[in-house]
Point group: D2
């Protein structure tokens, strides 16, 4: 019996790079959180502490800032450039993963006119991209998080099994609220309109959430994933993680009051957590996409 | 020498009440975090544990939900109703403080039409109100937080004193970013258009941030406070707390690259913190307003 | 009617300085979060943007690191040195406030021996100091936070008034849990054994929490504050803020089970919040101590 | 081309159950955060909203509280009981995952005596268990998080490759600090001394961290994993995720000061992140253990 090194990786997490693009007076802001992760021929540093194959995480950070000098563009492309660079230039690095969060900013409105160089953080959701590259192939997923939504009606929940431990009442009208966390896998990495895919996928998620008359959050989840696939042909698979942000009807009867579905208590914990995948039946194999 | 009880207060913090208002198909959401704090003749419970003068914090919570049954309206009014109730009905309670946060929701847009009962959390800022009542008088402050803004130019910082420990370079062009936290004191509590005051004050803060050519964050702070006073006559004093969310220009020279004010590092800690008050020279005494 | 500048201050928040002291092989770690706040003749920067009286917050940060070079010692002393430096060297600065958090580390135990230079973060609580200096006088408060405690019995709560909105049952046995946040004011700033005062005050808080048979959290609060005053003569006033971390007995009757005070649900929000002051009847005026 | 449902699961997250065990006056506290996740024949609820196969997450929560009535014991056992119950009693549920966090409490010391029923949250780390059960087999992993450690010397980092973007200086003496997050896979689920395994694994991690003279955090990681395997025969694989909590030596030269490895700046972001697996060369297949 011996002890051996298994899978391993390392990198620099949460590099907060902000880039300004200037078109005369009119500026644009790109605000990112970039995490790079490398793996490959790294047994030496684990077993002996020899670091000649370890591209320092500080160097990875520097590379992010240096690459931003030439422009960032869409985060999926920026991730591809970075991932391919690390694998191409470091013989010991056989695989790179670059995860990027893009925080949303909206132009401030000043006197009815969009400001040229003033911005406010918006609630449009944080745009996500994760890129893998193994020296030959690349895989890209996009996504979104920090998008909190609520339907104040058109949600029921009933017909579930009742065992010894079931006390939940059935309901024909409840609040349905969640914080959307979605990732989508692209079937290819060339000739994709990354920005258009993001905008369309985001709109599909919101529209499906709003217009699905729901008998379970699972049903809403499936509708949301399917809607993305219907509208974005380059996307082949969608993964959703939806916390059920419970709003419990407040029982006011002790105070001699009724409560006709008006007053709710918004709970923190525990919460339901619904997770699911919706995909095309001819989706290519995921490869490293979700690693 | 003896040991005595000094100032004290107690209450229920962070009651998360959500109310739906229904106008046929069209719903509205009011999403609050309410904290009640009472003080008065409370020596007994501290000194002997006798609780006959202690309105239970659980009862305070129940009262918040019960009062929401009749409608919430503007948070300043809801706070006044609650604060006056506690003092009026509990002989031992001589003063109440009700602090309310209102989380912003925006109607979802579905196919170009605002949804009747679907919403998304927005980034318009969390609206705040703090109400004090002492049995005779009431005081109200409003406010906002969670409003993050950035100017990508029109900000300089130079001319500051240089002592032994000063290394900061002067700059004629920098990013200026902050998360606005503002409170404003109303000069009266009757006949105030609370919603209008909030909307106007918020717009004044944003506009002043955007259109002030800034030589220091202090200057911007003063401009923001003054702008609120200029546009909302009922407000007599504004307090602002503005973290300077530093964006440092990345030094790319080691990589043979220049950086013409394009690539920045967004720092977490430490950060500058600028706090100041702007008020009318005939503002009435604050009384308990800021307690 | 005019608009004027009111109270204002500025500084650098959350300077994370860590110092090692080496006594041969045996090291000690001092891990601080320092926030400096200055006020004085600062109207110019607010009104015109002229910064010749504004010691840059970057300089304040540098000063913290430079002063750490000569040793930090007790945080109350380090705060006094910094506060006095800023007021003494900057004519425009009339008052300084230095707030310090010290994070606790304990020596790791390796094979039964305390390690010479290996440490783990401990849960002893974060030690606090806030120093004010106005050019002539200084004021010091100490304190602690992040100290979470629980009594599993010896806590009752009953006899409280019952109004229309009261539903809480009386109890003769409940869990009492809180996260202690305490500040204490020293009556003088010279010849104080800061470390001893902290250690004794912390032990007094914990002992009083544990050995007080409690009829209300207010009663426990008072006992904790009084115990500190009884054991630390240099402390003249104690302020406590104690969230009531509710543990609700789980109702298992629907499952045919009793619950003899064994199974609880630990709630997040809302929570009771009990705040109070205990002081000596001959305590000197607080001056700027609590500002 | 069609759209289909892929992998999915659902459950109740973060059930905060606290149990008291009473041995006369002497109490013990078990403080848990339990998350249950079920999967199986769940296509209906996704595709049509029919919920007859969906054990409500509210019922899952109730089950956790009800099962705590008979005692919790070791969290690995509690997880096994819950996971097997859900699969055994719900025909539609083919697999259950139960993840448990146990928060550490230490007995308060009152006058040199360990208190019978007073406790303080400790920093020993949060104990973790994840149990999977598929109706036939069970898999158990244990683990720990929230364990922050620091070596003030005996850490070097040099010999790493230098490319165009490398600026990091080599060092023969640095602070090495991390927040340990570890999971370990047990080779069997019967006849394991769970508590003993946890205690021994935790001690092995800390001892290896302290006594490894380190040339890279990867080397320390491997030493920590191997040490666990050497001391706990039931554990067959260890996964570690170690953020490199950077402490940068402060450059005081601008102030005319040297800095003989004494004054550091503790950075928040970005941070290195080192992840790796150490396992026995005859470890059985992981099956569902890490799912």
């Amino acid at each position: 019996m011996g002890i051996v090194l298994g899978d391993n990786q390392y990198g620099k997490a949460e590099v907060r790079v902000v880039r300004l693009d200037r078109d005369g007076e009119r500026h644009a802001v790109t605000d990112l959180n970039v995490s790079t992760t490398l793996s490959g021929d790294l047994a030496d540093t684990h077993l002996t502490g020899a670091n000649d194959k370890v591209l320092a995480t500080d160097t990875q950070k520097n590379t992010v800032f240096a690459f931003a000098r030439d422009g960032i563009g869409e985060i999926e492309d920026f991730g591809l450039r970075l991932a391919r660079h690390f694998v191409a230039t470091q013989p010991s690095i056989h695989r790179a993963r670059v995860a990027i969060e893009r925080f949303p900013w909206a132009r401030l409105d000043v006197g009815g006119v969009p400001a040229a160089h003033s911005f406010a953080r918006s609630a449009e959701g944080t745009r996500l991209a994760v890129v893998h590259h193994d020296g030959e192939r690349s895989w890209v997923t996009g996504g979104i998080r920090d998008l909190t939504v609520l339907n104040s009606t058109d949600s029921e929940f009933w017909g579930f099994p009742r065992d010894r431990y079931t006390t939940l009442a059935e309901t024909k009208d409840r609040i349905l609220a969640t914080a959307v966390a979605a990732s989508w896998r692209f079937g290819r990495t060339e000739d994709v309109d990354w920005a258009g895919a993001y905008t369309t996928a985001r709109a599909a998620l919101l529209t499906a959430f709003a217009d699905t008359y729901s008998y379970s959050l699972q049903q809403t989840l499936y509708a949301m994933g399917a809607r993305v696939l219907e509208h974005v042909p380059e996307i082949v698979e969608v993964r959703l993680s939806l916390p059920n942000k419970h709003h419990f009807l407040s029982d006011l009867s002790a105070f001699g009051l009724d409560n006709p579905d008006e007053v709710y208590y918004a709970a923190d914990r525990p919460y339901g957590l619904i997770e699911g995948t919706v995909l095309r039946d001819d989706a290519p194999e995921p490869g490293l996409a979700w690693s």
